[in-house]
Symmetry: C2
């Protein structure tokens, strides 16, 4: 495929999360982002969801580099699994300084200490086979977020990563609009742009606007203040620290990821903490209530998070009480609303006051709104556009924005996971689909969502299980011991009079029928028992538990 560029999204299209895009030129590959997403309620017992990256496994020898745009889980979270699968072929991983530090910390936890990561500066030109990689400084809700320009003979593709055009960032310069404009003047071949807020009109508020509002909220609070936010939102943590310092309150960090990220942020100079401001969680009780700000994980109502524990009066060190104020400096990610609402309501029950972004502008999204997406399109003037990072709705709305700024709709491609965009010097088109989808992480294992185990768990969770153990004589085919009948997860069994005896009798009838039909093979016997018992139980209980007959021959 000389003179051809292939752009294959393996995640992040038709969904929010697990972003991963493969760029291929002359048979060589650069991967941008290796993200994960969190399971939905119907993925019973699943811990994490990765993109299906079989394509990368098959092409392991051809991968020149992986580039991570920033340190959020939906962009870097799958890296340990990808590197482990690629084994000896694992390529070098590039990213900004904080991004690489966070990735390294994550890889350490997975005992992948040999991975080769390199932090590079925006503007550096990195050769990777037929590609030249360049990072472009952007603003987002985490420091060191970048867009990635991939230069090839055919032209340059730009992956925006997650971004907003924050004109007054809390830390560092605004996005490098000048470099983006330069790419536009040179003639950009393809834009792969973040669609997350394609449904929000106007411009996103600046992160810096949050600080004064936090301070106002703090100033009104009489008792202790607990602020919860994303642990990776280092700028937000800085602003909470600043507000606390200006009001003479001490700050304590609660929650493992909060402590870890703040440590990394401090070591890289992204967070400045005044001398003597920080106290340990176990010291919180030693200070008067009005001298305390706690920064905590749990803004999404996560079950084991510090804030959720506090809301359930179940935190080892911090006991909330009437007069405390809990500040949610984050909005619920779609799907987390119920967990967040539950946490908020528990806090009200304790007698806390709760302030959310509905009450005061104490959160700013890290993703640009509609006008920013249009600004990006106008700056880089792409020949082709492929919206990424969005469900079907947002991809659709982003494509309409491209239309609105005058890009020919035929040059705008609404792709899906696994559907590659092929570009050569005559045009661009959507090619033949490649394998894509989800891989489930369940404890320490990874596997396929079609896994029969998940189907079984759905069935077990809905209607429970009936286990019947029949001990039969090899000679006569008749039972020689009382049949064991065990229900688990089938409700109201105790109300079904004589059910166990009736099931035993049904087993006898079923075995007798089988003997009549000369069925002797255990598998067949069990199949017949299964069918007879399933029908019998449905008839009696109007339920369909999983029916599991075991025939023991003696």
């Amino acid at each position: 495929m000389s003179g051809r560029l292939r752009v294959l999204p393996l995640g992040g299209l038709g969904e929010i999360g697990k972003n991963m895009t493969v760029f291929e030129c002359d048979g060589r590959i650069v991967v941008v982002d290796t993200g994960l997403r969190f399971p939905t309620a119907d993925m019973l017992g699943i811990d994490l969801v990765l993109p299906d990256f079989k394509y990368l496994r098959d092409r392991a020898e051809d991968i020149e580099a992986i580039v991570i745009t920033h340190g959020h889980e939906d962009h870097v979270g799958a890296l340990p699994w990808v590197l482990r699968e690629l084994g000896d072929h694992a390529p070098i991983v590039y990213g900004g300084r904080l991004t690489v530090a966070m990735a390294r910390s994550k890889l350490d936890e997975h005992n992948l200490r040999d991975a080769y990561l390199e932090d590079i500066e925006p503007g550096d030109q990195i050769a990777a086979g037929p590609f030249t990689i360049e990072l472009i400084h952007m603003t987002h809700s985490i420091p060191d977020a970048v867009a990635v320009a991939l230069r090839t003979e055919l032209g340059t593709a730009l992956v925006t990563g997650d971004y907003k055009f924050d004109q007054t960032p809390v830390d560092g310069p605004p996005a490098d609009i000048s470099r983006l404009a330069e790419l536009g003047r040179e003639g950009l071949l393809l834009l792969c742009g973040d669609s997350t807020n394609a449904d929000r009109p106007g411009f996103s508020p600046s992160e810096r606007d949050v600080g004064p509002h936090l301070e106002e909220v703090f100033a009104r609070a009489q008792g202790r203040i607990v602020v919860t936010s994303f642990a990776s939102n280092i700028h937000r943590v800085q602003q909470v620290i600043d507000a606390a310092a200006s009001l003479g309150r001490k700050v304590s960090l609660v929650g493992r990821s909060m402590r870890k990220n703040v440590n990394i942020g401090r070591s890289l100079g992204h967070i400045e903490v005044p001398e003597g401001l920080m106290i340990q969680p176990q010291e919180v009780e030693d200070w008067p209530d009005h001298k305390i700000v706690v920064i905590s994980t749990g803004s999404q109502g996560e079950p084991l998070s510090a804030l959720r524990r506090m809301a359930h009066n179940d935190h080892r060190m911090i006991k909330l009480h009437q007069g405390d104020t809990v500040v949610f400096s984050a909005t619920p990610i779609p799907g987390n609303e119920r967990a967040v609402n539950e946490t908020v309501d528990r806090l009200y029950h304790i007698g806390c006051d709760v302030i959310t972004p509905r009450d005061a502008p104490i959160h700013a999204s890290g993703h640009g709104y509609v006008e920013e997406l249009k600004l990006m399109l106008n700056l880089v003037k792409p020949r082709y556009v492929m919206p990424v990072h969005g469900d079907h709705k947002r991809i659709h709305l982003h494509a309409e924005l491209a239309d609105a700024v005058g890009i020919d709709p035929r040059d705008v491609f609404r792709s899906e996971n696994g559907l590659p965009l092929e570009v050569d010097d005559r045009g661009a088109w959507l090619g033949e689909p490649e394998q894509s989808g989800m891989i489930f992480v369940d404890g320490v294992d990874v596997g396929d969502p079609a896994d029969v185990a998940l189907r079984d768990r759905r069935m077990l969770s809905a209607d429970g299980i009936l286990i019947v153990v029949a001990t039969v004589s090899e000679q006569t085919g008749q039972t020689v011991a009382p049949t064991e009948v065990i229900f688990r997860g089938v409700p109201f069994i105790e109300q079904a009079d004589g059910l166990v005896n009736d099931i035993r009798e049904e087993v006898e009838r079923s075995l007798a029928r089988a003997a009549n039909d000369s069925v002797k093979e255990i598998d067949l016997l069990q199949q017949e028992l299964h069918d007879d018992l399933a029908a019998f139980v449905y008839d009696r209980l109007r339920r369909r538990p999983m029916v599991l007959p075991v025939v023991v021959e003696v």
Copy 2:
């Protein structure tokens, strides 16, 4: 308890849904509302949740009447279970005309055709033991919604039911402010007021405002229009019909509850349909796209609803396609966001345009906002206030509103389910808690949420089950047939090399230990096997499936 009024909330406090309040005077009882709620995601396989109404069962002979404020499920849904439990003691059920019609239809489905229901007019004075019952006309998102005044010797209690002060309702007069003011002038003893929108500032928009916006949205649509809303929102359905008629489109109703409610609404004169406007769902395909409006259930993304089926291309009669517009004339109830978002995204994937209340003011809440709650407090001037119908947050905010209009905070009672308010001529106080909680409906059965079956299902759904059947000789205690090892719902078992054999060996070891310790009793044997196998499996798989050993002695 002569001269004393007891108000016992059995549902609707500290939660949204299953509203039920018991009023007791001189040992006689009037129940206001018998609502249900829908299960949350962690209530595996549960269909409905009812208030625990043991208190009513115990006091069945003392119940004078049940009053239903309106026909929504969270106020009337538990009526079949309550009446069935009360049996011969089931009292008369009062309500407005539509309310009684909907209750009757529901009771018919439960084969409770002997129940005694009576529709009464606002203003009628109904004697019920020591109580005089009077309904007061209110406005809400369903016709015939009423507040209930319960007059006793001690004074009058007012239960608002769900209400808003809609000055321009679509059908019928505004709320009877005049009668409410009269109650206030007479001196109201207690207000039990709806708290649902205690967190929304200002006044709620009028239902009538929705119509013109619907018509605007319809006028812009080129293809077919599908509108989804609550089936009981008969005024909304009327406004959709009006907008369709004015644009020359035919209307078809899809979804069982939509057809049922519209039938009831038409028969009671709440819905007017122009001659020839309605067509059957199977006729939709016979008309040009721009001549069609479909009104459908599924505004909450319910799994089996008509709209969800259409979104998944799985509806028998209506196939959506590019160019169709789907209008959500409803907002997601908290907890349903994910299901609604999924449905919306499927619709975008099909190529439909989707309009929600975020895009245009095409929905109006049926519950008054903050200023309306204050208006109610000022109108009826209650001596005591008990906010109802709300989670802890909304109860708290409603109590603050009472404070804001000048009611002494000591006269405002933040109660909980099961916590009675006691009132006599010297004062009011929260009394001793009574039994309250949830009853789960699972298929045809009802039971306790502490039911071991639900706990089992949670365990099964998280980690699956391991069943081990060991056939042992009664004499030697040793296995005499190969041990059966069965996994269900445990993922990635196939990757665990030799696991089944290792488990068999562990069984032998465990049995040998038991034999050494002279353990022979089957229950004890099974307990030891359970503990050994659970530890063994956790060690190997880092999972905790339910472990179920069966020992068969021969």
